[in-house]
């Protein structure tokens, strides 16, 4: 029983991290109708910028204050992500308005290659470290209740907490601020938003920026967990089932989807895996999402697709 709960908690925390990446997908899809495959590359790019700036700032400051160095790096990486968003909007999106979904998807894959190339050119392709002071050792709780206790990974716990806070902030941002309202208007109907004077291009830059910041936070958390290297971009592959399960257009969907996928894949790997040789979690996540889609083709919280002839 204790082990089951432990797996469950592990799954929930992993799921929260998936949500964080999925959130980036959802934000961009909502506002610009682009299924942004480059989200994984953005996570990598942001994390690379953060890791390198942090070490450079630390060296420049003489290694006294890691916190200050990280702060400078965070601001710097945030600015880098702003430039990335601006360039993407300027050079790519603006020229591809009204294209089909598949074309836009391919364009973002093109952006992925560019980001991977530029990122490695600017920042190098070794493994870098992001040290934001995350605790690495586990704690064991409820030892009196279960044999062996329940192991909780402090780092994952903090990461999940940060993810939850970020989601809360984003929800507030969307609901309460004028920019958030404009964003929602654009998401509902581009042309109607344009006709009441919402500057579409600026909104897109903002959305890509927000997605960039989300990628930065995701990059810091994943990077601190795994080390910053090329494979960080593949976390996007783990977040895809989350996005379709929750619905492409729904922020809460990304959270709930993340939790379902996280728990589903950990439980399946631990309890089902040994019978079939293991390594099943990645396809299990996709199959799980597929099963949900068969019942709700637009995802759990997605807008219903209505076809008219």
């Amino acid at each position: 029983m204790g082990f089951f709960i432990e797996t469950l908690i592990g799954g929930l925390m992993a799921g929260m991290l998936y949500s964080l990446v999925a959130l980036g997908f959802v934000l961009i899809f909502k506002a610009s109708g682009v299924f942004n495959f480059a989200q994984g590359a953005m996570v990598l790019f942001a994390a690379l910028a953060m890791a390198r700036f942090s070490s450079w700032a630390n060296a420049a400051l003489g290694g006294d204050s890691l916190f200050l160095a990280n702060l400078i790096a965070f601001v710097g990486a945030g600015m880098v992500m702003f430039i990335v968003a601006w360039v993407i909007e300027r050079l790519v999106l603006r020229n591809l308005v009204n294209q089909e979904g598949a074309t836009l998807l391919m364009a973002t894959l093109g952006i992925t290659y560019v980001l991977e190339g530029v990122g490695q050119t600017l920042f190098g392709s070794e493994i870098y470290n992001i040290d934001v002071g995350m605790p690495k050792d586990p704690v064991i709780m409820f030892e009196s209740l279960f044999e062996g206790g329940i192991l909780i990974n402090k780092e994952d716990f903090i990461a999940a907490l940060i993810a939850a806070i970020l989601v809360g902030v984003l929800t507030l941002f969307f609901q309460k601020t004028p920019i958030g309202r404009a964003l929602r208007a654009v998401a509902d109907d581009h042309q109607a938003a344009l006709s009441i004077g919402i500057p579409l291009n600026r909104i897109w830059v903002i959305v890509w920026c927000v997605a960039g910041v989300v990628a930065l936070v995701a990059g810091i958390i994943w990077g601190s967990k795994l080390g910053v290297q090329f494979s960080l971009a593949t976390v996007a592959m783990r977040a895809l089932p989350v996005v379709i399960l929750g619905g492409l257009t729904s922020v809460p969907g990304a959270i709930v989807g993340g939790l379902i996928i996280g728990v589903g894949e950990k439980l399946s790997e631990v309890y089902l895996g040994p019978y079939v040789g293991g390594g099943i979690e990645i396809w299990f996540a996709y199959m799980l999402a597929l099963v949900f889609l068969l019942f709700r083709p637009q995802g759990l919280f997605g807008e219903k697709i209505i076809d008219r002839v």
Binding site: L91, L96, G110, P241, L293
Partner: protein, 358 residues
């Protein structure tokens, strides 16, 4: 001037419905095929055969299959690599487990197995659409990656999970040298391209296009979406599966599931979209672009560097290759969202009027 159709009158329906209604087109295409069969074997060296032409032909065949599904039937798939894998491993099993199994039959049986799995994984398309479907097809991709790694029977219990074939021959004609491999793949490609072209002109292709343009409307006028969609999945998977068999048997000779990873699926979708959705010719353009460009950049950039007296490190070259490759993809999508095939047809339109455009 040369490309004029004046005076070519069609006097029967058969003449009007030919694949190439303009005589120059027909001559041109036949000339290209003849050149590919007769001319190229004398002109090209081993490197071009093994590293560029053979992969190009095989991936063009796969792209053709993907184009039938994505371009003609409108179902985006990111799982094409999985069907290549199914084709390759099924052909492998038919080839080694049944004594005296002819190579071509094994490849076609591999294609058929892939078609069967295609129908199975196509079932969700009846309910799930668009980008949701695209992501859902990744389930097939990851499942197949896993299955071929884990289920030992598929790999003939090889301890490492890597399989290999050799001694390929068709009715006593042994396929060993690069020229023979090239001709073998070329024959496959030409036959399958002809089949594809005819399928898209026939009732089944028209049904696919109706589904692509609007499935609800198509249903209203009496097209069965289940039949149309699943047949598209089956035919597409068949093509892709045969291509997978060729990739394993002829190009690599020895392979593991990583040869058909998700990157391969993306690559195939790229070919179709860069080349032109819903165009047979586009599949060839797309395959040529995606196969040749990275290799070209990889060799051209150091050459360019040394021309200016700069030695570029291998890492920098690969990074530059990624950047240029990505930028060119975005560039082409912006310039011509309908793909290279569209550029080709624009050129043809121009040529019609040339040299007197007004």
């Amino acid at each position: 001037m040369i490309y004029r159709e004046n005076g070519q009158f069609k006097t029967s329906y058969t003449a009007d419905q030919q694949i190439f209604t303009i005589a120059q087109d027909k001559i041109f295409v036949l000339a290209v095929i003849a050149f590919a069969f007769i001319g190229i074997p004398f002109l090209v060296d081993e490197y071009l055969f093994r590293a560029i032409l053979i992969p190009f032909l095989i991936l063009a065949l796969a792209a053709l299959g993907v184009n039938l599904l994505v371009g003609y039937c409108g179902q985006i798939t990111l799982g094409a690599g999985a069907f290549m894998a199914i084709g390759a491993y099924a052909a492998y099993n038919f080839f080694i487990r049944i004594d005296g199994m002819p190579l071509i039959v094994a490849l076609l049986l591999g294609g058929l197995s892939s078609a069967g799995m295609g129908i199975l994984f196509g079932i969700p398309s009846l309910r799930v659409r668009g980008l949701y479907l695209a992501v859902a097809t990744l389930a097939a991709q990851f499942f197949c990656d896993w299955a071929f790694l884990r289920i030992q029977w598929f790999t003939n219990n090889s301890s490492s999970g890597s399989v290999s074939v050799s001694n390929l021959n068709v009715m006593g004609w042994s396929i060993e040298s690069p020229v023979e491999k090239y001709l073998f793949c070329l024959t496959f490609l030409v036959v399958f391209a002809l089949i594809a072209k005819n399928l898209t002109r026939a009732i089944i292709g028209r049904q696919w296009m109706a589904i692509r343009d609007m499935d609800v409307a198509a249903e209203v006028i009496g097209i069965r979406p289940m039949y149309a969609k699943l047949s598209a999945f089956a035919v597409s998977s068949f093509f892709v599966g045969v291509a997978g068999g060729l990739w394993g048997f002829v190009h690599l000779g020895s392979w593991e599931p990583a040869a058909f990873s998700v990157d391969r699926s993306f690559q195939l979708l790229f070919m179709v979209i860069i080349g032109g959705l819903g165009s047979i010719l586009g599949s060839f353009f797309g395959a040529a672009f995606i196969v040749i460009l990275p290799i070209f950049l990889n060799q051209f950039l150091p050459a360019l560097g040394s021309f200016f007296g700069i030695a570029i490190s291998t890492a920098a070259v690969s990074h530059a290759e990624l950047i240029i490759f990505g930028s060119l993809i975005v560039f082409f999508l912006i310039v011509e969202p309908h793909g290279l095939a569209r550029l080709w047809s624009i050129a043809k339109e121009k040529l019609r009027l040339w040299p007197f455009p007004h």
